[in-house]
């Protein structure tokens, strides 16, 4: 008797396995294979990205999908490891027959995946990784990025510093950033942009703690000795939190202006430091929960909060933007199967995003496949509307998208190398 039951279960399972693909094949779907990390330090961004992407997919499918297709989104934890990501991407392409590769937080994983995307002619939508290389030196036609890169953030930072010099003259500058590609890129790009905008400065210190270093005390005391007017920070996430917490009682932020234009203003930094976050730090991020003050942005943030019970980091908006871009491209082409036509559709595409202020629409630069967006740089002010954060950014300075793009010579000199 028991034997029969077991046999029955096995049969049903086998049948289900055979039938499931058929059932799916009945419906027309756009398959999006995503590779966000769900573990480790970057797991927070992965989780936010997946939640926001699912939110966008639900919104679009609720309206009946695009061009008769429903969106189907799957995420596999890439563990932020390039080798694993490559294998998963291969599976997505060969087995699951996805139409788009999607995601990733780490630039290293992004670089490995853009190689896969190039060889298999499969569009890869980059949402969070920041390395400028992907749209400059390592540019390939099937890669698109829907969030700002470090060059754009650093250009905004440089413009901010240029304006600051007119009201509050400064001369010396120091840098602290994680000792890997992301940290070094930011510093080089900042210096390049300061030169480009004709800002005079003197470097008094450069500091390279290792990524995920738990203790910054010796760096802090040494920075204080250098007495820089401006301290640029390229730290992100938990590292930024630890640095700020450790530096505050040393009085560092009273002696120098702290400026972190790429990831310093990301929401998790504010939620993790609460009331300990000093006022008057100059920070920015690729999306802000309280800027622009438009209905679209408010709706996006509240919807995310309702879905997850927390406020989004900027990673979330990147993923959200990526799904919107895919939907719009499929709508235009009429099907998700012709990668080359989709590339054409994405090039120059205008996408209305939560982070767009009144009168501006983000668009994808056809030459580099990099999204072009306005960047707002703010100063920490008291604001408890987004708990657990007690500080948010305010006193915004807005930088026009076109001013932040790398100039032609820069791209050409990089591509030649």
């Amino acid at each position: 008797m028991r034997k029969h039951r077991v046999l029955g279960i096995v049969l049903v399972a086998v049948l289900a396995f055979i039938l499931v693909p058929f059932a799916q094949a009945q419906e027309k779907v756009v398959k999006i294979g995503s590779l966000f990390p769900m573990t480790g330090r970057a797991g927070l961004y992965g989780l936010d990205s997946v939640d926001a992407a699912e939110m966008a997919v639900e919104e679009i499918n609720a309206k009946g999908g695009v061009a008769g297709y429903k969106l189907e989104f799957t995420n596999t934890d890439s563990k932020a490891k390039p080798a694993d990501a490559v294998r998963i991407a291969k599976r997505y392409i060969d087995e699951d027959k996805v139409h788009f590769l999607f995601g990733v937080v780490s630039s290293a994983v992004g670089l490995a995946l853009t190689e896969v995307s190039k060889q298999n002619k499969k569009i890869f939508i980059g949402t969070d990784h920041a390395s400028t290389q992907l749209t400059v030196d390592k540019f390939q036609p099937y890669y698109f990025r829907v969030s700002n890169n470090t060059f754009q953030s650093m250009a905004a930072g440089a413009l901010y510093l240029k304006e600051l010099a007119q009201t509050k003259p400064w001369t010396t500058i120091a840098y602290v950033g994680p000792d890997y590609a992301y940290g070094h890129d930011q510093w080089n790009e900042l210096k390049y942009n300061l030169d480009r905008f004709g800002v005079k400065y003197k470097i008094v210190g450069e500091y390279w703690p290792k990524l995920f270093a738990p203790d910054y005390t010796p760096f802090i005391t040494s920075i204080i000795k250098d007495k820089p007017d401006i301290l640029i920070s390229g730290l992100w996430g938990g590292d930024s939190v630890a640095f700020i917490k450790q530096a505050t009682p040393f009085g560092l932020f009273e002696k120098t202006l702290f400026c972190s234009p790429d990831a310093g203003g990301n929401y998790e930094v504010m939620s993790a430091t609460g009331a300990e976050l000093p006022l008057g730090l100059v920070l920015s991020a690729r999306h802000h929960n309280n800027w622009p003050d438009t209905a679209a942005n408010k709706e996006y943030v509240q919807k995310f909060f309702k879905k997850t019970g927390r406020y989004p980091t900027y990673a979330a908006e990147g993923a959200y933007a990526g799904i919107l871009a895919i939907a719009q491209a499929v709508e235009k082409v009429g099907n998700p199967n012709d990668a080359d036509k989709l590339v054409k559709a994405l090039e120059g595409m205008k996408i209305q995003l939560p982070e767009d202020p009144e009168g501006f629409t983000s668009y994808i630069d056809p030459a580099t496949h990099q999204i072009v967006q306005v960047q707002a740089v703010g100063v920490t002010v008291a604001n408890d509307k987004f708990p657990p954060a007690k500080r948010m950014l305010g006193e915004w300075k807005i930088y026009k998208a076109e001013d932040l793009l790398p100039p032609k010579e820069y791209i050409e000199s990089k591509q030649k190398k």
Partner: protein, 320 residues
């Protein structure tokens, strides 16, 4: 004893040839080929690693160093000289691994037990950190992409069969070494180092030799891996890579020569399957690991053997 061993070996080689050799013929996708290549290369890495632990009793937590060195030999050649230098790059990795393992080996075989393990870990992390931050030369955390083997090797099918043949030849060679007088001596070292030195054999010299052998074959696996993934990354050198290869070996059984290879296949398939279904894969891998260590320490192959022996002896008893 000899005959049974032969029979087991024949089964292993037959499986290796038939399954991996026929994969492309039965119409597998390039994803399956990649998965199979990963099993073959990690399998070689695990067998080479087990030459140290299973055969000699020296647990290295730093073999990722040589695995990564193999990969970076290829990667650096391709990055700095050109993609035609893929094969010389593999050679470079092997030579570098031989030299470095000789130098490090001299330093670390002075201590044994957990001390040895920690030292291997320490050296592995040192090389990882240097690679990670020496951005101009190694590409740092960005890794190196676009490693496409030149000429006929760029054909995926050809590359796959080349990998298969090299892996089989290497494992066969390692098998010969483990059965050679050196291998026998090392097993004695594992059981009683003092006695070996009493009979006039240099323990350290033998250990150094096997450390170099293991490292060179790890580098070979790493070098070939670069051509499968078309990119390499500092993760190859990180301690978690060393940890994974230990885990694969334990899963298959460290007391068995072919155990680590079987363990690798099982591990990669589980990881692929579990990883696709849940983000809580570390929990599941952790639980599997605990089960293996606590309940099945002989590994899948070892436990299977033990079960067979028990059944056979019961059958004999029944007949008697």
């Amino acid at each position: 004893m000899e005959i049974r061993n032969n029979y087991k070996e024949i089964v292993f080689w037959a499986i290796l040839f038939v399954i991996f050799g026929s994969l492309p013929i039965i119409g597998s996708s390039s994803y399956h080929l990649m998965l199979a290549s990963h099993i073959l290369l990690w399998g070689l890495f695990a067998v080479a690693f087990n030459m140290l632990w299973g055969v000699t009793g020296m647990l290295s937590f730093g073999q990722a160093l040589y695995f990564g060195l193999g990969g970076y030999g290829v990667g650096l050649m391709v990055r700095h000289v050109g993609s035609d230098w893929f094969v010389p790059g593999i050679g470079l990795g092997l030579i570098a691994a031989a030299i470095l393992s000789f130098a490090i080996g001299l330093l670390i075989i002075r201590v044994s037990g957990v001390f040895f393990t920690v030292l291997t870990l320490a050296f592995g992390q040192l090389v990882w950190q240097i690679t990670f931050r020496w951005y101009e030369f190694t590409g740092g955390d960005d890794g190196i992409q676009g490693i496409i083997p030149p000429g006929i090797l760029s054909n995926k099918l050809f590359y796959y069969y080349a990998t298969l043949l090299i892996v089989i030849a290497s494992i066969w060679l390692l098998r010969r070494i483990s059965l050679s007088p050196l291998g026998v001596l090392l097993r004695c070292v594992r059981q009683n180092p003092n006695r070996v030195s009493f009979i006039g054999q240099s323990v350290r010299y033998s250990q150094l030799r096997i450390y170099i052998v293991s490292s060179v074959f790890s580098a070979l696996a790493g070098g070939l891996m670069a051509g499968v993934d078309n990119s390499i990354h500092t993760d190859m050198l990180y301690w978690t890579t060393s940890g994974e290869v230990i885990l694969m070996s334990v899963l298959g059984g460290i007391g068995q020569f072919f155990g680590p290879f079987i363990g690798t296949a099982v591990f990669i398939v589980i990881q692929e399957f579990v990883g696709a279904k849940t983000e809580y894969w570390p929990l599941i891998i952790g639980l599997i690991m605990m089960t293996m260590v606590l309940l099945l320490p002989r590994g899948l192959v070892g436990e299977f053997e033990a079960l067979k022996t028990r059944l056979q002896s019961r059958m004999v008893a029944d007949r008697g």
